[in-house]
Amino acid sequence: MGLLNRLDDPYEGGGIVLGKVEELLNWGRSKSDWYLHFGLACCAIEFMAMNASHFDFMRFGTIPRTSPRQADFIMVTGTVTFKMAERIKILYEQMAEPKYVISVGSCSNSGGPYWEHGYHVLKGVDRIIPVDVYIPGCPPRPEAFEEGMMQLQKKINQQAIFNKRKRIELEDSTKDESNKES
């Protein structure tokens, strides 16, 4: 990976990168993700520590936004209750495409410690919005946040931007063929 690493390639004395526009766009997108910080509970405190001087989350090119319209991904940090669930859905729907969701901590992954008797806890934020990356932990360590962020960047880097439908059809047809063969 890494477009910049390829600058050393000996094309015409260096300084030239041969690649797809898609790669360039994905590179740009994955390295400057602005997020809507959705601090709900304990995980948000760990996320504050993550944002502060010791761990420095901004090295990923992330900037906290308070408006969903300016955000690329949403970080759901904490327990989602039924009273809150509808608001999360509204905020998610306000975000512009492409949008991603990171679910942080056991509570928003699956209900966490409240899975059994929590009458007012939504058992996983993926019941209302699609989740791209799950970060486990109660609360996750800052290192886990870093890993989660890297997983999201990996996902963005692999994304198709142009001719999506055509590609999907192509992939499906190759899959069908391979299925037939097997």
Partner: protein, 383 residues
Amino acid sequence: MGEIKRMDLEYSQLDSDRMRINVGPQHPSTHGVLRLEVEVDGEIVTEVVPHLGYLHRSFEKHCEKLNYQQIIPFIDRMDYISAMNNEWPYVMALEKMLDIKVPEKVEYIRVIVAELNRIANHQIAVATFGMDAGAFTPFLYYFRDREAIISILERLSGARLLYNYFRVGGMAADIYPGFKDDCLNVVKQVRKTNAEIMKLLIHNSIFIKRSANVGILTPEVAINYACSGPVLRGSGVAHDLRRDEPYSVYDRFDFEIPVGKGDVGVVGDCWNRNIVRVHEMEQSCRIIEQALAQMPETGDVKAMIPKRIKLPKGEVYMRTENPKGDLGFYIVSNGTDKPERMKARGTSFVNLSVIPEISKGYMFADLILILGSIDIVLGEVDR
């Protein structure tokens, strides 16, 4: 270019209209998922209606379904910034019911970890209060120092935030070698940073202009609303359970109770509530130093932990001084290994209830500061 005509407004003829503004539940200044419905007249706040429950995690229902040891992790998740302090009244209540005398060393470990956690809590409180007023640097300074405290507590308990370290009759683990040195280093660093913060934030003229004379809470109103902790002490009432109802070994330490004196502004305003926290960090440092010196070298911290907890029939109400104020647990036992009913008197829940009273008549921007000066944690408000 034509002539610029100045428009003269007759202010007396302008109508003023009241407007309702919704703050939260997803808002960085509400310190969590609090929703405030604010009625403003121009920019003057005329009414505040807090809406809670966005983090209601059914804590009290869990207590009725789980046995006594299993409840401790859920107590951590109430006031997640000061989890060590939260566990204390609960295990003390059970020890009182079971008539367990905990070993001397355990008492000292409890005092030290609770005071360390108190410092960490106040660091977040002052840092976020500074952020509400527009000061970002204290946040970075305090979080740098907080990491040192967190790593001590992590080495003790294995977790960075939610420790699950207290046990009924003892602790989950003994202290590690080098614990004393680590604590003394933290104390030194806390003092150094606080001296810096005093110059950088507390006596900064912009900060004083924003936070002094704002959100004045009189002692009578504070007591009637049952406020506690720095909110009550900021109003000049020297009420601290560590001195008034000494529990554990707090009667062996020499420490003061800082109260708002009105050096800047008037007693009971945001500035005075905030300065109490900074002074309390210093007092916590003193307690830690004395506790480290007095702590017995030997002793089994797990000696008195019962294998199975079965409470006798009865009830108990136990409260201790949390960093935010009095935290109380009311436990009703029916003689089995699960409580019949357990009620937590959330400190932030009670302290927050005063906000409609003290924010009327101030600017809308001041409301955020008033909220920040109360230092709430929504996990404890909604439970």
